[in-house]
């Protein structure tokens, strides 16, 4: 039974309530307020109304960032989910040696995206980089406007595949082996089993991963900062890079906050849609 102890309850909540109020709720409110001002790093400010939003929409900076983030997401999420699933199906067979591989593939996930970005920036270097040396070519991976974004997405995929495969492994082990036996007796090939049984049965896991990965990729920053800083020609300027460059590069905190507000609203919409979906689909029972 829950004990009714109002004073103690509030006392125990107090520190985290102060934290949540001051460092999460208040900043969101403040972001809305700052977005209505011209506000620089020295603290001078002037009320502008919605001018920051209007200029962001008219000069194409926001549209560019949204497009870059969307392309980044559309490349990195499906590819890392697909590779993660394939990897997981091989890892759950638990052959000798797979335990080591299971640990190895998760290593990039615990490493700082910033540090990994620096490592990959070096690997991608045109002249002294390992990749061009191995391939025997001289490609400007990170400075060619058409290659930079795919290269950044590749590094993100490389970092996340192992982590994603952990979720698929967990999902796969929850599927009872008896249904595969039944399918084999009925003569289903392994491709058929994969397509008609495994993938549908993994739908809750896939959906959870898709949503969390989309939300995460809308916030990606550290890796992009290390690899390209948003260049060349803003081709890799994801939303978070735009916020950072506007605020701390161009000293336009108001414009940066307007981008932040838009990102926040976008994530709220994604989350609400996800909730709707989840409440419909979560009842999927595999017993």
């Amino acid at each position: 039974m829950n004990a009714r102890r109002p004073l103690l309850g509030w006392l125990l909540i107090a520190p985290s309530l102060i934290g949540v109020t001051c460092f999460l709720i208040l900043p969101v409110v403040l972001a809305f307020v700052v977005s209505l001002f011209r506000w620089d790093l020295l603290g001078t400010r002037k009320f502008l109304g919605l001018d920051n939003y209007i200029s962001l929409l008219s000069d194409g900076a926001l549209a560019n960032s949204l497009l870059v983030t969307a392309i980044f997401t559309l490349i990195s999420v499906p590819v890392s989910l697909a590779i993660g699933l394939v990897l997981a199906t091989q890892l759950v067979r638990a052959l000798p040696g797979s335990a080591i591989v299971r640990v190895i593939v998760v290593i990039p996930w615990v490493c700082a995206p910033l540090a990994l970005g620096v490592v990959w920036k070096w690997i991608f270097q045109p002249s002294v980089g390992a990749l061009n040396q191995i391939l025997g070519v001289r490609i400007e991976w990170l400075t060619d406007p058409s290659l930079a974004l795919p290269a950044v997405a590749f590094v993100a995929i490389w970092q996340n595949v192992g982590y994603i495969s952990l979720f698929f492994q967990a999902g796969l082990t929850r599927i009872p082996g008896s249904i595969y036996e039944a399918a084999r007796i009925d003569g289903a090939s392994s491709a058929q089993q994969m397509w008609f049984m495994t993938i549908p049965l993994l739908r809750p896991t896939t959906f959870f991963l898709a949503v969390t990965q989309v939300v995460a990729s809308f916030q990606v920053f550290d890796m992009v900062y290390a690899l390209t800083g948003g260049g060349p020609q803003h081709r890799t300027e994801v939303i978070a890079s735009l916020i950072y460059n506007e605020a701390f590069g161009a000293s336009r905190l108001g414009r940066a906050s307007a981008v932040a507000v838009i990102l926040f609203l976008l994530l709220v919409v994604i989350t609400v849609i996800q909730q709707r979906w989840f409440s419909k689909r979560i009842t999927y029972d595999m017993s």
């Binding site: 909540i13 460092f23 709720i25 797979s98 593939v105 998760v106 490493c111 690997i123 896991t205």
Partner: protein, 294 residues
Amino acid sequence: MTAQTTTRRRPLTGSLLVRRVLGHGATYLVLIAAAVLTLGPFLFSVMTAFTSTTQFAQQGPLSIPSPAVLDNFRALFSPTSTSDGFVTPVAVTIQMVTAILVGQMVFSVLAAYAFAQLRFPGRDLLFWVYIATLMVPQVVVVVPLYLMLSEVGLRNTFWALVLPFVLGSPYAIFLLRENFRGIPSELMDAMRIDGAGTLRLLWHLVVPLNRPIIVTLVLITVVTHWNSFMWPMVITSGPTWRVITVATASLQSQYNNNWTLVMAGTTLAMLPLVLLMIVFQKQITNSVGEATLR
């Protein structure tokens, strides 16, 4: 799809054996490719970190260090004229992670216990608010947080690094509350009758009973804050309160072509967590179950 008929009729053991080997062969091909592609970049960077600058200049990035030298690490740890050593960043990062970890764990456990086991007015509304804040990403609040902490004179201080995180995390509170709700009330009542206060109850009953989720949260917190970059970069300036990720980034931009030194820096930034990951692989793998579909 004609292959299934042969499987069904149980073909010769010989061809079955071939199929088995081929099946495993394909699996091993995937596993080996995954391991090589994952480890490759780490191998290159660690190798380069142990290569002398002259050898790197002459033989390029794929050469095996001969002899392996510690020059790059020595250079990182001997702060020169510009005091860009890694000694301070390592110390600052350890302090920051420790402070955030202790604060976040203590305050999250307190709050989660209250949400799970006590009744008080406003509880459910407040919990809903906490859950809603899970939607707020760091990048959205970075500018206002910068303005707030600058306003109260905390820019470029240790407090600025830890304050936004030290008072508890909604995510941790959410996961802990789910687990604390399952504690049998008979146990709690028995301890209360014996005269145990809330703190003793938490320390001797609630925390030990929930050790797995707490270990998971400790690992997640350490990884998150050891790796955090954007906030420390924004709120600190100069070498005094530089954390290891910021030091790595500035090393890269400062010594753009001195890749052997830069790779020594990234190796140092990543090594502690890679070791942590290897030691706690079970807990990290299990944490996935905690995070999914609750």
